[in-house]
Amino acid sequence: MSAVQSAITTAEQQHRVYKAFDWIVIPIVVLVLIGAFHIHFMLTGGDWDFWIDWKDRRWWVTVTPITLIFFPAALHYLLWTNFRLPFGATLCCAGLLIGEWMNRVINFVGWAYFPLNMVVPAEIIPMALILDAILLISRSLTVTGIIGSMVWGVIFYPANWALIAPFHVPIENNGVMMSVADLIGYNYVRTGTPEYIRIIEEGTLRTFGEDVTPVSAFFAGFISVFMYFIWLGFGKVLSRTTWVKRL
């Protein structure tokens, strides 16, 4: 008889232990994810997501989906290959939005007194739901990477148009035509963020005239495909249990 005996002797006890493990691990993972993903996105998406007058039809559309797909891809690998759970993207994006809303309400409004409508974050849940759904239906990370990531990039702008369209209504200010978003950016003084620092509407896609958004969106989707697979690789490396076994 072994000197060490398991404390779990019944199936019911085992069920309770497994459940307790979930209740301990899942909240910790969610909190770490919110923090890490939020920092990542502030460093990469940053001002494009902070301010309503940065949400343009070229750079915001391109930068946001590409930089956002990193964490969902890594978590897809971890949760799908080890648990066959298809909610990595939704978990990441919902967590990010919780962090962003806390940041905007407490920091931007509570401390710096900006109006909340100036700092509303982009809507990213629809992209995440579609990425997760394609993974669930296809049961393939490859198919998800190729089709899901492309759709991820393409639908970002249409999914957000319902939020930002009101801010693109034209307005006149001292003889200059501006969008409402431009006027909000001009009215609410940002000492460290002058008008010229915005990276908006820059590029050489002038051939497409006003239809530049679909081109930017497809480009974002195309690059997102590559990024998805690169970050699947990161997910693979980071979800190894080698170190845990050594412990």
């Binding site: 109006p115 629809p126 148009w161 034209p170 307005i171 609410y188």
Partner: protein, 411 residues
């Protein structure tokens, strides 16, 4: 015996509490921290005034003044090819209703000419109660903020009374404080609820981590069978449903807002004011900074091409004014307005029309130390600059930029 661990823990706790509880209000915007040569040889502000220093929420304040882009611009600082007239305040205490440079709207960024003078006007509407030190400010691309004179301004009242109503070109009157917010929150809540339902569906399948991990390892290549047909159907419904809502919301927004424009990012070019020197020419002959006396001493070769005798009334640099009260009088606007009311003296008297004369000028005040301008001698480019104000007998002013190498005198 002293418990070291306990003592360290208590010290850390006390220090943390002190830091957390004592958050001192910001009293300035780093105007003294910028290098002296940068403050003296980039943008020189003068005649900066505010219409009032005490106002209520919703009332307006007008800031006016002039700025001169120094002719001897430092080599290591980007030139003002792209700049934006701004205001230095801690967050939007005011909203900027309008700004003008030489009468042209300052909504857009602008390029400026070195060696030229411009005047500005900014109209601000008080938004929240606060007592703030506000500055005129010029953001220059690649060079950073060039800060102008500051004034203490107090706003009283209640922020909840503030409104910022404007009328769009489509005829709708909106309040920029809240416009579009309810709609944005509605969409975030809608998608948030669906995301939560999706996550909770999977999390409440029972214990999911250990059992599923074990099952995946047990089934190996057949692990995909863990996904049930119902769950795949659920995925399909979610995929189609999400696409339908996205497409519908897109076209519905187009229907609600048929006239929209892209974000505007134009630049304007603004002609400079006429030369403020008005026929007075001043060349630097030599200059030294007397460290023990906190005094800048320089010799100017002045030529008066006007029709009236002129005398020096003021020298200004880095938003500090040294006044010669025999010619021009100024008092500090508030406790943080650096004016040396009797700081300028010079030898040589009036310069007659058509005359060229050497004038020995000394500008003395503790401000050289307190505003860290004496640090100029430690800068990588120890040249100074500033504006000299000459006045004729009728009080008409000629503004002349001067500058050159500066030698320190330590004994």
């Amino acid at each position: 015996m002293l418990n070291i661990k306990k003592a360290i823990a208590i010290l850390v706790a006390v220090a943390s509490a002190c830091i957390a509880l004592y958050a001192a209000p910001a009293m300035a915007h780093g105007e003294k921290s910028q290098a002296a040569y940068l403050r003296m040889r980039t943008l020189l502000w003068y005649d900066v005034e505010v219409s009032t220093v005490k106002l209520k929420v919703n009332e307006e304040l007008v800031m006016t003044g002039k700025f001169y882009w120094f002719y001897d611009w430092p080599q290591n600082i980007a030139k003002p090819d792209l700049a934006f007239l701004n205001i230095g305040i801690p967050g939007p205490v005011f909203v900027r209703k309008a700004s003008y440079i030489n009468g042209v709207s300052g909504t857009n960024s602008t390029s400026f000419d070195i060696g030229a003078t411009y005047e500005f006007k900014v109209i601000l509407k008080a938004r929240r109660p606060a007592r703030v030190h506000m500055h005129a400010l010029m953001n220059v691309s690649e060079a950073g903020p060039l800060i102008g004179p500051g004034r203490w301004v107090e706003v009283t009242g209640n922020q909840s009374d503030f409104t910022n109503e404007v009328t769009t070109l489509t005829g709708e009157t909106i309040d920029l404080e809240t416009y579009g917010l309810a709609n944005a929150i509605k969409w975030h809540v809608f998608w948030g609820v669906i995301a939560a339902a999706w996550l909770l569906y999977w999390i409440f399948q029972g214990p999911i981590l250990i059992p599923r991990y074990k099952t995946v390892k047990l089934l190996g290549e057949d692990a995909d069978d863990m996904v049930t047909p119902f769950q795949r159907t659920l995925g399909l419904v979610m995929l189609i449903g999400t696409m339908v809502v996205v497409v519908w919301s897109y076209y519905d927004a187009h229907k609600q807002y048929p006239v929209t424009i892209p974000l505007q990012s134009g630049q304007v070019s603004i002609p400079a004011l006429p030369d403020a020197a008005r026929g007075v020419n001043a060349e630097m002959v030599d200059a030294k900074y007397r460290v023990p006396g906190r005094s800048l001493e320089f010799t100017l070769k002045v030529t008066n091409n006007t029709n009236s005798p002129i005398r020096i009334g003021e020298y200004t640099a880095a938003n500090i004014r040294w006044m010669n009260p025999e010619v021009s009088v100024a008092e500090p606007a508030d406790s943080h307005d650096p004016v040396a009311v009797n700081g300028l003296k010079y030898e040589g008297g009036a310069v007659m029309p058509g005359e060229t004369k050497l004038l020995k000028v000394s500008c003395t005040d503790a401000a050289w130390e307190t505003y860290r301008l004496a640090k100029l001698i430690y800068d990588p480019d120890s040249r100074f600059g500033g504006l000299v104000f000459f006045f004729d007998e009728e009080g008409t002013r000629s503004v002349v930029a001067i500058g050159g190498p500066l030698l320190p005198v330590f004994i």
